[in-house]
């Protein structure tokens, strides 16, 4: 944390009348902005990437008018959404109606506080950071439920009911899938989990926990309401689900939250199963040393990009699941399988198979 | 510094708010259940405050079990409530006085 200490010293020295509390609050605010602004830029260009990738998959060009090769398209979208009118439905509960997008985006950003992007690049190093992610992530469901409730409209309510049951069911699956990681790493601290995967690409947990990784990825699709599990907003069934009535910036905030969650889930998959900031060439003679100068942040983002691409890939490939099929997948397929795999992992841990335990 | 009695007085206030809630919402089972949750939160705060100030983790273990039992209680309570609404069309607590069906 040498970098942060330098900033802290700079602030406390330049403004000497600050006492400890005020200085630390300012440091925390600077850190938060240093995280949120790149995150929001990533979200903006992720939407651009989505439209381009799906465009090429469907033999189209995607956005290509605003700026060179359409690079300014996300900016244009953002400006358009900001200047649009925010419409309030008749008899909508105005306070809850405005609270819903806030409740959607607040946990989506708060979760990032404990995500380690490099060995010493994080805002907080909580002892129970994995539990913190699960807990704060579970608050996101309130945004969708309240949006459906406060809109005073049929389709949002249906979408909200669908999403509430889906999110709660798949949280259990994600929890059980991550229990296996915790069993192997012996810690619920994300930094410790990544450190436990040190060694080489074979030390990462994707080999012993390959089925869990698949289940985690599919559950992450459901948690973020992505195709093919986007029954919450399924256009062809319930118009636009929870955000039928939302317009302008309130609508955009829901999408910011959704894309921030997608990036989060991709990075979480990297931390849990793909060795976090460790280089894939680690432990390989010559090549490992050749790549040793690359910062961990680059590896995390490079690995996460694959998962983010997989999100778009899946969206362009599969037709939408029916609601009862998704529920069946969770309770009758994933949950028994993850519980069974917990026993397998317990056995592997006892017998000390492979380099992971 | 915050002393032990500050936490205890706070949790006794919360306990009493939960109690008043049970008195004034006695016809609505959903709010009754929520008031019970509030009372349990007050009790749990007591346990944790004692555990922290006495340096004994047994209090936190107790809270862990209380959380478990309370979650089970809510699940079954809401199931009964749904059943009651389905059979009687109301969740008014007065209708539970009739024993038939």
């Amino acid at each position: 944390m040498g970098f942060w200490n330098a900033i802290t010293n700079f602030i406390t020295q330049t403004i000497p009348w600050f006492d400890g509390i005020l200085a630390s609050i300012i440091i925390i605010l600077i850190k938060a902005f240093a995280l949120i602004i790149p995150l929001m830029l990533m979200v903006a260009y992720f939407t651009y990437a989505e439209r381009k990738v799906i465009g090429y998959m469907q033999l189209r060009l995607g956005p290509n008018r605003v700026g060179p090769k359409g690079w300014l398209q996300p900016i244009a979208d953002a400006v358009k959404l900001m200047f649009k009118e925010i419409i309030f439905p008749t008899k909508a509960d105005v306070y809850l109606y405005l609270l819903a997008p806030v409740l959607a985006i607040a946990p989506a950003i708060a979760v990032w506080a404990v995500i380690p992007l490099d060995a010493d690049l994080y805002i907080a190093n909580l002892d129970v950071s994995l539990l913190y992610i699960l807990a704060v992530g579970s608050i996101g469901v309130y945004g969708i439920i309240l949006a459906g409730w406060a809109s005073n409209s049929k389709y949002p309510l249906l979408g909200a009911l669908r999403s509430a049951s889906l999110l709660v069911s798949y949280e259990i699956v994600i929890g059980f899938a991550l229990v296996t990681v915790v069993m192997i790493a012996g810690s619920v601290n994300l930094n410790a989990i990544v450190e436990a995967q040190k060694g080489s690409i074979l030390h990462w947990y994707w080999i012993p926990l390959f089925p869990m990784m698949i289940i985690f990825f599919i559950s992450a699709l459901v948690e973020t309401n992505r195709a093919p599990f986007d029954v919450v907003e399924g256009e062809s069934e319930i118009v636009g689900g929870t955000h039928v009535e939302y317009s302008g910036m309130t609508f955009a905030v829901f999408f910011l939250a959704e894309y921030a969650n997608m990036i989060l889930m991709a990075i979480l998959a990297v931390i849990m199963f793909f060795g976090g900031w460790h280089s894939p060439f680690e432990g390989v003679p010559y090549i490992g040393e050749f790549f040793s100068w690359v910062p961990g942040l680059v590896w995390v983002l490079a690995k996460a990009t694959f998962f983010m691409f997989a999100y778009l890939w899946v969206r362009a490939t599969f037709p939408r699941f029916r609601y009862d099929q998704i529920m069946r997948l969770s309770w009758k397929v994933f949950l028994p399988f993850t519980i069974a795999w917990i026993f397998v992992v317990a056995l592997m841990t006892q017998l000390k198979i492979g380099p992971w335990f | 510094m915050i002393s032990l009695s500050d936490y205890l007085i706070l949790s006794s206030i919360i306990f009493c708010i939960g109690l008043v809630g049970i008195f004034i919402n006695r016809k609505n089972i959903i709010t009754l259940l929520m008031c019970v949750e509030l009372i349990l939160a007050a009790v749990n705060t007591n346990f944790i405050a004692f555990s922290h100030f006495l340096g004994n983790e047994a209090g936190q273990i107790f809270v862990f079990f209380i959380l478990t039992v309370a979650a089970a209680e809510v699940a079954i309570g809401l199931a009964i409530l749904t059943l009651m609404f389905r059979n009687r069309g109301s969740i008014d607590i007065d209708i539970t006085s009739s024993l038939k069906g």
């Binding site: 309130y142 | 500050d6 205890l8 959903i30 929520m34 944790i48 100030f53 862990f64 959380l67 809510v74």
Partner: protein, 205 residues
Amino acid sequence: MTSAQILFYTFSFFLVASSLIMIFAKNAAKAVLFLVLAFFSVAGLWILLEAEFLAITLILVYVGAVMVLFLFVIKMLNIDKSTLRAKFAGYLPLGLIVAAIIVAEMTMVLGHEQFGLNIYPAPEKASADYSNITILALQLYTDYVYPFELAAVLLLIAIIAAIALVHRPEQNRKKQDISEQVSVRAKDRLRIVSIAKNNKEVNND
């Protein structure tokens, strides 16, 4: 005022205010939301007491699951608000009297004379390598392993009981039978009739 005191009084204020709003709320959904705020404040207080595992469990279990269940039930049931508030005023004085007596008694018992700083001094702040979850886990899996197993069984019973209570046997449910759908032949569904050539005759029918 230290930062811990500022936090304590902020959380306490939000806790008391949101629980008061909760018990007087007319709308059950709003009551749930204020209870959520109350739980957040309680979790903050628990973190001040260095019980971060339980604080996060409270958010995870209560805010993330139990309160969602409450909201879900409130939305599913069409509750008539007016009848539920009918006797509101009648019970308020009695409740207030009981509450006032309890608060007075508790404050007398729990006041600074009995439980003050002189008797139980605030413990030292835990060191940076103190791990609340490790200590709790060590206790749970050694001394309290039987209660722990019993709690797990209790939760299982609760799951089964809740499902058994609300589950309705299938009646009039429309289900797809895929093999039946696949084995359909055209002649089962389609009848080819020859229509008379004379249009007038058809129209008269």
